[in-house]
Symmetry: C2
Subunit: 519 residues, 2 copies
């Protein structure tokens, strides 16, 4: 394999211009395909929202920071007054949230409007001259709402989010330390001292060398396996109002974690903290350091893709986590209880970051070591087969994503293209081709500019419903949604703590994802 | 004066804790007053918008990127169709813009709505699933519109803005180079060589030393005097649709220019480029370098405030720029033409940055050299008297600011408080009081957090009209605005190139600000 990597090409060779052309080709092809795919996903999202137009979420707005009514000192009265006055023809009804048995404390309400158009307008506008009062947003699907998080005061959310972001960054940077420590403790020589039965391993010939060789990577994999759950737990603390937002956040965090602790750590071999330190002190050296390191690690990533891919997919099919958890539960705190037959939702936050990581590896090595690509193709084909099966037969839909994960995946691919370009800048520099190195800089600027453009062009429609779409959906129903539809919508947002709904709750937990109860 | 500055206090003295307490006191007092004032300004803005509720701008939305109608290949038809369909009860009429004599090429329209509430909703929402089509915003006042900039295609605006930002940064960083060069050329010794008549200066005793001493600072002042006009010119290229936005942008740019080229350049004595280089290489040294430099320059700033304040205000009253321009015009290209009696608008972009600069000096020196403060108080009192007079008798209102400049001024003061805190961190460090130095860091974090909070709490209401305010303003007129008011509104936005309005144009130029014709 090594004979195919760019690092073996003599300095100043003309073949580097061939590499520069393929860098341009891959960058532009990548951007072209991303842009085309973004358009397709956006069209599908709009179509899907039209198909789901009878969902209560399209008629309902989540209102936070409801102030108390001056006259009656009541929240319900305040909501009713405000919307009857300021959205007179649009407002239909409201559902206020209660904390436990207390029939007021929570300043959160779901407000239903007479049409999707009215709801879209109310969700996107500033209601009050104090923008921290009457904060509106489109409501998530009823089954997607995290009721507990709605009780977190809006003011505290900033503190929660800042705290979570800081913790995540620290977790990502210092992750290598406990891993290295555990790897140090579990060295076979030390194990023998502290845990004499481990001596028995020596009786079987060859086993000790396998353990010594594989134990560190098993420990690393074990730690990495836990990361998505930790990140999901942290995202839960950040107080998002819906499961979908929480899992998107977790998915993003896991990707950055993997990029830092699997890609960069393997490539640059040294703790992330060291690398960040070096980057701050000598920012100009980043491309050349990356170039030297990346070309040396092609072999490692080939084996990594094979090992991690095969083991990952078999783990996905066998679901050992679920099995262990179930077995543990039955034998301990769940003993004697009726076994609930729950189905879990698709763990986007575990799957997408790994797919992104392999995309990153593939893109970065596409020019330096193209022999890696067939392995990746096999990995993705296998993954396609496995996940199509899992999606159809194993997991249950607990919320409609409507393509919400695509912008994240798009961002990860753009990051990969940028890292490839920075690596190539360094590599052309190392090979004494400064002209090719400089010629790559406009390519880098173009990629960043494309990313900014795509944020303007596509991203807003993934977060808001345009006036045109809302009206078009209304007109699909001839006279807009009926009064009955509005009433159904507001009923769907009855908080689970209200007595009437407690009966219905028993059923609904069965569709709750397993994972939310783990993390 | 020097005996009063903090730099004379012995190392490790307990008096430093007195300084730390006053740092806390000034920081918190500053933030408290800023917060209080922001609330007052916001209230005044809302009140002023209510007083101006009959302005056509409150009923009108500026629509950009209007696509061609598929059927008739016409823009007017497209606007009419879109708004009759998607804002059926709200839409009143439209006014399409024309470039020159061509009766179509411009995808820009002013659309009037039946009520302020409808206009506010339409301005704040995303109209189309492609967010780069049908872009809406509240229209600026008719007299505030820069018609020429409306013809710039929206897609190109990003390029224009990026170009302008890059130019501004380069201009600010490299400004010192031509100034130093000109100062070098005009040294008296060199002048005598190249321009022998300059010898005559030596005949008057003492004059030569005055020239040698003052010439460099006169040259610097001359260069700085031109900066606001240059920045306004650059803001014009950036393609803002209204004069008010353009001047706000220019005002901000001039402040950063003055902070870099007057405050930091004087304090740190070395070209801005050197300083930025040093900051990048040793970011940790910034506070201590700042501390050493700031305490050494207290005397300079005292004389600077006196000199610049007195000369600035007399220049403001005498208006030498206007006089020279007028005299030049009459004698050259304006010879024989009828003298137009125009009035100029208040040059916010020239006044606000200097006020902010002196606030910055005052705040940074408030603890290090409090004797500077009485001079500043005199400066501001004098300024108050001069500008009250100028506002009432000299300048004309060409647009209502409605407090739009306040968020900028607020930001400048926060920047000043932050620079003061960084300087004090360095100073406590230099005086071997690391505990006081560390104790200042939470203060710095608090200031930054306050700034972020104020952006959430107040800023949105300076850019959008809340639904509540719009509806309340509508209800002031009992049944909302009449049909006549809507028709008047749309007439007010007739573009100046249309034949009917060419007659009216002659008058309107007389109220155009003088300055826009200079820059």
């Amino acid at each position: 394999m090594d004979s195919f990597t760019i690092s073996n090409i003599p300095r100043g060779s003309n073949r580097l211009w061939v590499h520069f052309s393929s860098l341009c080709f891959i960058s532009f092809l990548g951007i072209y395909l991303l842009h085309k795919e973004y358009k397709v996903v956006l069209m599908k999202r709009i179509q899907q929202l039209r198909n789901l137009r009878n969902q209560p979420s399209q008629l309902t707005v989540l209102v936070r920071q409801v102030p108390l009514c001056d006259e009656h000192k009541s929240l319900s009265c305040s909501v009713d007054h405000f919307f009857s006055k300021y959205h007179p023809n649009a407002y239909h009804s409201y559902q206020i949230l209660y904390a436990g048995n207390n029939l007021e404390e929570l300043p959160v309400a779901f407000v239903t409007f007479r049409s999707r158009w009215d709801a879209a307008l109310a969700a996107q506008t500033q209601q009050h001259p104090n923008p921290l009062l009457w904060i509106t947003q489109m409501a998530p699907e009823p089954r997607d709402v995290l009721w507990k998080n709605l009780s977190i005061p809006y003011k505290h959310l900033v503190l929660y989010r800042t705290g979570v972001i800081v913790t995540e960054i620290l977790f990502t940077i210092f992750f290598a330390i406990p891993v290295t420590a555990v790897q140090g403790i579990t060295q076979f020589e030390k194990l023998k001292k502290w845990f004499p039965p481990a001596m028995a391993v020596q009786l079987i010939p060859g086993l000790s060398s396998v353990i010594t060789g594989y134990l560190p990577s098993v420990i690393l994999s074990g730690f990495v396996y836990v990361v998505p759950f930790v990140m999901k737990g942290m995202a839960r603390i950040a107080g998002y109002v819906s499961r979908s937002q929480q899992e998107q956040k977790a998915s993003n965090m896991v990707f950055y974690f993997l990029m830092g602790n699997v890609f960069f750590l393997t490539v640059l071999s040294g703790s992330l903290l060291d690398q960040i330190g070096k980057t701050f002190i000598h920012p100009k050296d980043v491309p050349s350091r990356l170039a030297t390191a990346v070309s040396a690690q092609a072999d490692f990533f080939m084996t990594y893709i094979l090992a991690s891919g095969l083991s990952g997919f078999s783990l996905e099919i066998l679901q050992p986590g679920l099995l262990t958890w179930d077995a543990l539960k039955i034998r301990t705190w769940g003993r004697g209880k009726k076994k609930s037959n729950y189905l879990s939702s698709f763990p986007y936050y575990r799957v997408i970051p790994f797919v992104s990581l392999f995309l990153l590896v593939g893109i970065v090595y596409s020019i330096i070591a193209p022999l890696l690509l067939p392995f990746l193709v096999v990995y993705f084909l296998l993954g396609y087969v496995v996940f199509i099966n899992q999606m159809q037969d194993v997991y249950e839909t607990t919320y409609e994503t409507c393509g919400q994960y695509w912008p994240h995946l798009h961002h990860h691919v753009v990051v990969a293209i940028i890292i490839m370009q920075i690596t190539m800048i360094g590599l052309f520099g190392l090979k004494s081709k400064p002209s090719a190195s400089f010629a790559t800089i406009p390519l880098l600027v173009f990629t960043i500019a494309y990313n900014e453009y795509s944020k303007f062009r596509f991203l807003p429609t993934f977060y808001t419903c345009s006036v045109k779409d809302a009206k078009d959906n209304d007109e699909f129903d001839k006279d807009g949604p009926s009064d009955a539809a509005c009433r159904e919508a507001i009923d769907a947002y009855r908080p689970p703590s209200l007595p009437q709904v407690c009966v219905g709750m028993e059923e609904s937990t069965s569709t709750q994802p397993l994972l939310s109860s783990i993390s």
